[in-house]
Amino acid sequence: MTAPLLEVRGLVRRFGGVVALDGLDLTVRRGTVTALIGPNGAGKSTAFQCISGVIRPDGGKVIFDGQDITGARPDRVTRAGLVRSFQIARGIPRLTVLENLLLYGQHQPGETLSVAMLGGAATRRREEALRAQAVAVAARLNLTRVLDNPAAALSGGQKKLMEIGRALMAEPRLLLLDEPVAGVNPTLAAEIARHIAHLREEGMTVLVVEHHMDFVASLCDPVIVMAEGKLLAEGGFDSIAGDSRVQEAYMGRRVHA
């Protein structure tokens, strides 16, 4: 068996006196769509924030494809090939959908100040390549018609699709999706699940935080359950659903008189 793509070991993060992550261990194997579930307050979002570098962990290690990225800045994490989406779709409202997609393109020489002011063939070539890539990403996500609209004008579901599209533009090897179908109608949720399944067929590895259990059951294997900042259980959806510790974490403990 090859080494896992992502390994999290003993991750700790405290906010004042609150321990959000209390020694979390988790592993994401290559080519899987792994779900990270757990009751509210279990620390799933904090885990995402720490893995993606948006906040720094207080302890533990994050190893991505053999490379230690613990506490690395988010731009470094992205360039290493690990790209996350945001839970509340955070489009750049005053840029168009196309520009939001292009923003996630890497290796653009036109982001250097002198090149930006003086122009250059390399910038134009890279911009054309990124534009072609963005048009292709938009086509697979059904966003072609809205490419030139400002991101602020998208519907809630389209914003969710754009979140995924933007992350794809950075050509990730691991995609972290934070609640990709929260607040989305069932038809679109099924469509998003199909998009993710296609990505897996193409060899992408995905880690998803999601509360929508039908979505998790139909798409994700394995399923990792977190509770109180730690790993609680891991396995196929059915074995997880039947696990009494998981039921307790979600429903509370039965009190015997």
């Binding site: 993606s52 570098g53 948006v54 800045r73 988010p74 731009d75 992205t78 360039r79 790209v83 996350r84 945001f86 955070r90 750049i92 409202p93 005053r94 840029l95 168009t96 196309l98 520009e99 292009l102 923003l103 996630y104 393109g105 890497q106 653009q108 036109g110 982001e111 250097t112 100040l113 090149v115 930006a116 002011m117 003086l118 122009g119 910038t123 911009e127 054309e128 534009r131 963005a134 048009v135 938009a138 490419l147 030139d148 933007r166 950075a170």
Partner: protein
């Protein structure tokens, strides 16, 4: 009258340069900067001291003015990296006051509140004052032209796209793979350089600079110019600067024409007209005269 109009157009050029510089820092990157006049002053003092005391050629002095301001801007960007909104406004305002107070008190260097006089100007003394003004008018507006072209290109480049993203949501820009602090430092340095360059030109036009020439009111005029012209739009910055000078100066004549009021009342009426015009403009055109627009389209 003609000399007066030319002088006003020269000042409009200084304002336009400052508004362009502010547009990089605030308009594109979203960092409030109420310390503009500090960078303006740094540029003015740098070139005044170098050309007068060390006899540097003027163009080198202007470049030095821009560079000194850029260095201060880069340092400022690092210091305020984690600040936003009101906090950033206070720190930058304080910076400008520090520059002014240092200029007032370090007499050995700046001659204190007496200021520095006799700063050379291009062909000053060799040509008539009218010709000198015309030469400077051409000089300052050529500078506006060059700076405008360079900044407009930067604004519509991938670099500008990243700055706009940082303005709207820093976390997203970072996750998009962009080193946010490095972009902020470059934006701040670039904007400050343009403002410092404007200050350097001003020093050579005016021949005399003193600390009270660098009071916070000037910063407010430039913020108004950019707000009226269109935050985020380089054309808006230039148009807004012209508008503010037109309002500030044009209202003198309107106020003169109002019958039956005392001179003190006329002065008050003038300020009221300026305020009312800007309020009406922003009420009916909150995005400014020339709203920000990006140019990237899916089919080239």
């Amino acid at each position: 009258m003609e000399a007066y109009i030319i002088a006003m157009l020269v000042f409009a050029g200084f304002y336009a340069l400052m508004a362009l510089g502010l547009n990089v820092i605030w308009g594109l990157a979203g960092m409030v900067n109420l310390g503009l006049v500090g960078f303006f002053g740094l540029g003015a003092y740098a070139t005044a001291l170098l050309t007068k005391n060390l006899a540097w050629p003027m163009p080198l002095g202007w470049a030095a003015g821009a560079l000194v301001a850029a260095a201060a801007g880069a340092l400022m960007a690092v210091i305020v990296a984690r600040l936003r909104g009101d906090y950033l406004a206070i720190v930058t305002l304080g910076f400008a006051e520090v520059i002014r107070l240092v200029a007032s008190n370090e007499v050995w260097l700046t001659n204190g509140t007496d200021g520095i006089s006799g700063i050379p100007g291009p062909w000053r003394g060799e040509v008539s004052p009218q010709t000198f003004n015309l030469i400077f008018l051409a000089l300052v507006w050529s500078a506006v032209g060059v700076v405008f072209v360079l900044l407009a290109r930067a604004s519509h480049s991938p670099f500008g796209r990243v700055l706009r993203a940082i303005r709207e949501d820093e976390d997203v820009a970072a996750v998009a793979g962009k080193p946010v602090l490095w972009f902020k430092v470059r934006a701040f340095a670039l904007g400050a350089a343009v403002v410092g360059f404007s200050g350097a030109l001003y020093a050579h036009y005016n021949a005399y600079i003193a600390p009270d020439g660098f009071a916070p009111l000037l910063t407010i005029y430039i913020v108004l110019a950019l707000t009226a012209g269109g935050v985020g739009s380089m054309r808006g910055a230039v148009v807004g600067a012209l508008l503010v000078v037109l309002l500030l100066e044009g209202t003198r004549f309107i106020a003169q024409e109002i019958p039956g009021v005392s001179p003190v009342q006329k002065a008050a009426l003038r300020e009221s007209i300026i305020a009312l015009s800007l309020i009406l403009l922003l009420r009916f055109r909150p995005q400014g005269l020339i709203p920000e627009r990006t140019r990237t389209r899916s089919s080239p």
